[in-house]
Symmetry: none
Subunit: 273 residues, 2 copies
Amino acid sequence: MPNDIEVATTLDKFKDILAERYDTLSNRLKQVADFISEEPMVVAFETMSVISVKAGVPISTLSRFANTFGFDGFSKMQVLFSDQYFHKPRDYKERIKRAKSEGISQIESIQDIFENLGESNIKAMEDLLVGIPSSKLEDAIALLSSANTIYVQGVRRAYPVASYLWYMLLKGDSSTVLVDGAGGMRSPMLKQIKKEDVLFITTFKPHAQESIAAIERAREVGAKIVAITDSQMSEHGRQADICFEIIENDVMEFRSLTSAMFIAQTLAVGLML
Amino acid sequence: MPNDIEVATTLDKFKDILAERYDTLSNRLKQVADFISEEPMVVAFETMSVISVKAGVPISTLSRFANTFGFDGFSKMQVLFSDQYFHKPRDYKERIKRAKSEGISQIESIQDIFENLGESNIKAMEDLLVGIPSSKLEDAIALLSSANTIYVQGVRRAYPVASYLWYMLLKGDSSTVLVDGAGGMRSPMLKQIKKEDVLFITTFKPHAQESIAAIERAREVGAKIVAITDSQMSEHGRQADICFEIIENDVMEFRSLTSAMFIAQTLAVGLML
DNA sequence: ATCTAAATGAAATTTTTTTTCTATTTTAAT
DNA sequence: ATTAAAATAGAAAAAAAATTTCATTTAGAT
């Protein structure tokens, strides 16, 4: 094999090279090239045998194809494709540690944090996009629509989500109450909740006493519960009639709320329809 | 193996079953369960050996885990995860792009809203990632570090961002005050602000009277101002010493806050370094 | 404290996937 | 039409991955 070939290191570059050399390829290799540009996702995630069937070529042709473009095996080429589909939050702790030990200023670290939080937030939202069945959204909206009054609660780090949802629901015509602790009136407020009402609660581990109390109160009176939480496995997550489980990486104890906000937003908009 | 186990056929059902049986699992199996709900994408696309390393368990535990839930091998379980990403999946970018190019994107189903909002939020964050120079972040952090007390304010739809930042700053060692209107005490609280303090304000058009008043008060006493806003061009945006301008598309009047939360998060984490 | 049952991790086995090799076919030039 | 070079498909070999087995450890019960 000639060793003067430029081997692509990114998918973009590979596509350029592919376009460039396309006309010089043999029939079978053209067929592979076509398939690759039509079904990059299949190339990214399936095994060679599956790809070979879908592309209508023998497996060995796939190997030859990759070798033709200078890759050391089909698998090496495949990495370019699968990388494309992963928003990988780099391990910023590692990077900062390294940056510091190498005497690089903190200044660069801020940029690192920014990028990594950004990547993490984006990944978390992408996970949600594929991970939440629309039936669950529909069910939640149906439940919320049917409510006489929606009681919204979230304490500590969940509070911003609760206040956001509350604000948005107020713009609609739902009867909505934000169960905040102002004036020490949380408990009296929760006393108001009735069977026909719905409790919308956001709570993360470790769950606050206030959250547990609210869920118990709602169950007592037979009110339905919609929850946003970080673990369906938690005892309280299971009490909810509908539970949106979100996975945010907390970075240095600082939990992202972007995904939770996203769900809240979706539900609020959905309720307006 | 007992044959009276209900084997999940969808990821959603599996998650339910998992939540149900979670408490009865052994330590190691709990560890796998946790990993699975935190990194579904890794489970979907990586090999067992990679997963075992990331989850910190031996490979055989993964097999055992799958068998415990009635699957005929880990791979069978894995299919639930990868199917999720394949069939629901990733063509949401495509779909939205197509919908847009084919004229007005008609919002018809909750799934459309969900994807639409998700795509917008992701786009907005990607824009931020490239649009904000790290020098601005550095400056903001330097300013906030130097503050005697940080006064955080945000009213109406900006309130969740303010409360989020406030909560996170409280975890650090900054002296921080959330200027909320509780008890009608906003104005007296703002009276407290001194030259050595910093006002961190989040405000969107149309700017609330409270925001304008806060900015004016801060300028009067010579306190520095850091702002998150949607338009630097606004009269008040220009008053800020450092101003993060974010562009969120509001969908049906419902403004996203994900980008603003992202900036708040970055600043809070940055302050801890 | 002793025993039993369950849980665990390493190693062996089996299966699947990938790569390499080789015989055959196709293509193009004479 | 003949021949040489390139292309191709299938099979065998090699590598990687998944699953099972089994000895050891741990946890719980008596």
